[in-house]
Symmetry: D2
Subunit: 339 residues, 4 copies
């Protein structure tokens, strides 16, 4: 059984059914009936007018958002372990035409208002230095921690005070919402978020993520984002197959159900080995201390996962895992917990 | 019945079956078993070592190819009606960081060695002018004409003489090969082509096109292209679903069968109204003279298509249309042919 | 005596004196006393609030203007023989991050409202095509012709109607104003021009051109342009030496006097050989039909100039040439005029 | 008397004389007699074939070098207080089309092989991460410290081992060489440096810095750099005035004499207040602890300088200051040293 990544998982049956249902003639690009329903579906979910674009990947969603929020000569504050900083192969520099990522530290890959304010204070307001224009956070973070609505709102207040665009990388937004049990609106636009990468693929989708814009500037930003989407080769010829997947995940809150299942699986594992957790487990990722020998022992039992540097491992659960599926690994972890 | 675009068409059953077959756990990105088979499958098809990358769209395939073949300060010769020039929303400028498209005229959207040589002769070899570094053609062209292997080879000779990278936009490469009945190798690398956008979506696929590199520089260009793919957000998390589609099209030459069907449907229509053809019909597109009234008459009979400026229309056939499917339109065209 | 280019000429004595006068300690970059006077000096000259930036070259002035007026996904209409299209080594693509130059034809390198409107009509308003956002003209043109205030205003009306930023490349703006005898304001902002590259180096300066912004959007554009200036390496450490040169040219209308001298020299030559002129002579450039033998004869008499293709030559006069200086060439041309 | 910056200083008489001597007709751009002599002059100085380009500013020199050494998808290791990271307004991102600066810590703004190797070890060799391709250091550093030939060679060995291009920002290269008394070759190409920004303006020039390339790849890199120079608007129309300044500084080792004077002035100040130095004084910058009151006292005596955060100040000496010129400040510092 693999715990490599939620990307390594099959797609969920409802998504596959939606693909099949969309398999008919319709207009190309985003002129089809499915794509036409996206804005309304997300507007209902978020209780406010939302504009939504499908794109190929989370990297594209994040970077089109950043290109829309930040001029090429601007700076983007992010966490030093953020996906945009560490794992997107320089895509933010490509999409923004060279805007500067400004990575900051913070426990569990979370940023705080104080850290951001301290950074802002170091930047002179002259043309020799890069002016910060955008803030991006990841929720749930790269270490599986969840920003609460209050925490996001505190960051949103900083963004507003300094006139920064505010983006949230929600590759695991579903896991965050499922953990918090909050309204999606409270975790986003009500807390000051301007743009959200709403992750689908890790949560049961096949291809396609959604990029959402909120607030009074949303129409202008969306129009610009549509240009970036085409310009970066992300305007699929048969967009209906992407839109259908996204709609399927929204339908009857499947996205929440899938994320809740993944979170529950992670909790089951966490409870098996609480003393080894490097970070609290709130979403669907566990980072645990694990010796090389212990890792080998687990792998010998057919449990697959990635090492996380030396002496640690990352385990990722997913939508398809019910408690009974992960019980064998939990059982295998218990003896280690005693060690 | 619609003749809007081959993008407006459902995907073919074998592709859907391949997607279902790939719906299992595997490594993310392009680390999966399907992606791993792409190079070999295309190498067999093209009778030479080929490296192949899946990307989201034809725009992405074309522009990553151009970014690999042309430095930011270089120029790219294309036809003035080429997709890269007219219909990609400036994507070539984005991917190449501002390289200059140099559009040239030519009947049926085809370039000739003479036109290219004449253009090259106007450019001084100094830093004030943009040096041409790349040539791109579309086969079949935007008007449905097909370059023969000899024609491509003549352009390839120009490219070689002037040290230009040579790219072919093969959004309808299948239709070209099906029309010619030639070996794919003869139409590409044996004729000097360095990179090919191998179209899948118009030919029965759902999402995903293939970008191929040939020749001794292919390994270095592929390595660079992999960087561009990630950097532009085209490295899908679950690449196996794209690779599986492409492999399905290659399997048992489905790609040729599909294209041959589309071409045959176009021929059936062409024969119904030969006097109205603006261009010879070789692939799966017809451009016909058609008055506003005639267009309205056809649409009243439930035949849908796009106007092509004033007094003309474009009809596109596709893989799913058998002769009996298009017979009603052919019948409806015959009276016009007499007019 | 050379007629290669106004770049090939020494700088005028008042500019050299101004450099010497500025040779004292002051704050770096544009924090000095000379740079501080630029806005006021140009505001007086143009009878409206103007913001002015010095940059190294006309290419930089043009391209920073374009970057300010056009988003990366936009298009820029220019003449097909415009300096930005033909002779800036792709700099517009670099500064604008890939915006698309859209070259149009026109006699004497001049654009007309009709040509522009016809081009605009061909562009669909969808993301597949590049939306025109900017218009740039050169005055005097690359063939030495001068747009009148009425002609500029007619183009300005088109720009306003289509919401295009309007830039004027004024590498030889002085020659145009000297020819017309008009107020600089009438040829620029009153006619709808948003940004002007105000040429200095061809008109007696050593290094440094001025980029001017007019109108209500000038403050925001200037702030952005200051970012581009720094970002492109054009914020000189000792800017006072550039500002001093520009101020010297403005002082007592030296810029007009210099341009008038160059124009007069061109007229003296034009009158010697009226039947050979390819374009009317309005500024300081002559394009004349000249056989290879005739060119050789002139060069044997120590008159230097550039061939302009085959069978033609370009002669450029400059600020330092008084009628008596060019009389020998005029005398040498007269016999050709008879031929 | 000001100690703001070496940019705030007049130009030296020999440079002014060279400008006057170059004030004659010649070919434009870099086609003149002065520009033609640059390669030879630097080749003699560096005892190896060198290609040299003048550009407007140090920012341009640095960033054209980086664009030549690093692909857009690559990374550039620099010090976290390097000029390229902190004070160039994002110009590296602009010129390199989004390559990633990777800032590292180090005392006195110096990098060490160990720090670099540690950073390199953290980067996976996959497309998700940005591959390091270039190393850039500043000599003398932003804190006025000087890398010795051995120190540069140790970094050069790292660069070679990891196949990184190696650039040196030599805005104060003259001060470094004057301090070390070494051969310029030993501090650059013999130590593995591929490209050097050779500073002129801080050392007595008016406008224009030199960008030098060394080694077997120099011809190809220079050809590319010439494209970048034009493309970024740095190909001056009257380049002879820049080349003449640079040649004047090289003539009879004026560059060393000027730098030695500045260094000596700095030493004179350092000896007045040794206990307050934050960094050893090796070039022409002093960073001293200085209370707000002390700063005010000095300014009341007409000594001008910049604060360096709170409780510290930066004093920069320059080529025009002889010991007797700085003696008044030294005298004023002595009482503080006792405090």
């Amino acid at each position: 059984m693999h715990f490599f990544s939620d990307n390594a998982t099959p797609i969920c049956p409802q998504v596959m059914a939606a693909i099949a249902a969309a398999d008919q003639a319709d207009h190309g690009y985003d002129g089809d009936a499915w794509s036409a329903r996206l804005d309304a579906a997300f507007s209902t979910l978020f209780e406010t007018p939302v504009s939504a674009l499908w794109v190929a990947t989370g990297t594209a969603a994040n970077c089109i958002a950043l290109a829309t929020l930040c001029p090429p000569y601007g700076g983007i504050i992010c966490h030093e372990e953020a996906h945009v900083e560490v794992d997107e192969g320089g895509a933010p520099g490509f999409f923004t035409h060279g805007a500067k990522l400004m990575p900051l530290p913070g426990d569990g890959a979370k940023l705080t208002p104080a850290t951001i304010a301290a950074k802002l204070a170091t930047i002179r307001n002259d043309v020799h230095q890069v002016p910060v224009r955008t803030l991006t956070i990841t929720n749930a973070t790269e270490y599986g921690l969840v920003y609460t609505p209050d925490e996001v709102a505190a960051l949103g207040a900083v963004a507003k005070a300094y006139d920064l665009g505010f983006h949230m990388d929600g590759a695991r937004f579903a896991n965050a919402v499922a953990h918090l049990g909050c309204r999606p609106a409270d975790l986003t636009w009500r807390a000051g978020v301007d743009a959200l990468s709403f992750g689908c693929v890790k949560n049961g989708g096949m291809v396609g993520e959604a990029l959402l814009f909120f607030g009074p500037q949303a129409p202008a930003r969306t129009e610009e984002a549509r240009r970036w989407r085409k310009r970066s080769g992300h305007l699929f010829s048969k967009g209906r197959y992407l839109a259908a997947q996204i709609l399927a995940l929204l339908d009857h809150d499947l996205w929440i159900a899938n994320a809740a299942a993944a979170n529950a699986a992670a909790q089951a594992l966490a409870q098996a080995i609480p003393g080894r957790l490097i970070h609290p487990v709130q979403a669907n990722e566990l980072f645990i201390r694990l010796s090389t020998d212990e890792a080998a022992t687990l792998r010998a039992q057919s449990f697959d996962f990635y090492d996380w540097g030396t002496g640690a491992a990352r385990l990722v659960t997913n939508w398809s895992q019910r408690p009974e599926h992960v019980a064998p690994l939990a059982d295998a972890l218990v003896p280690l917990a005693r060690g």
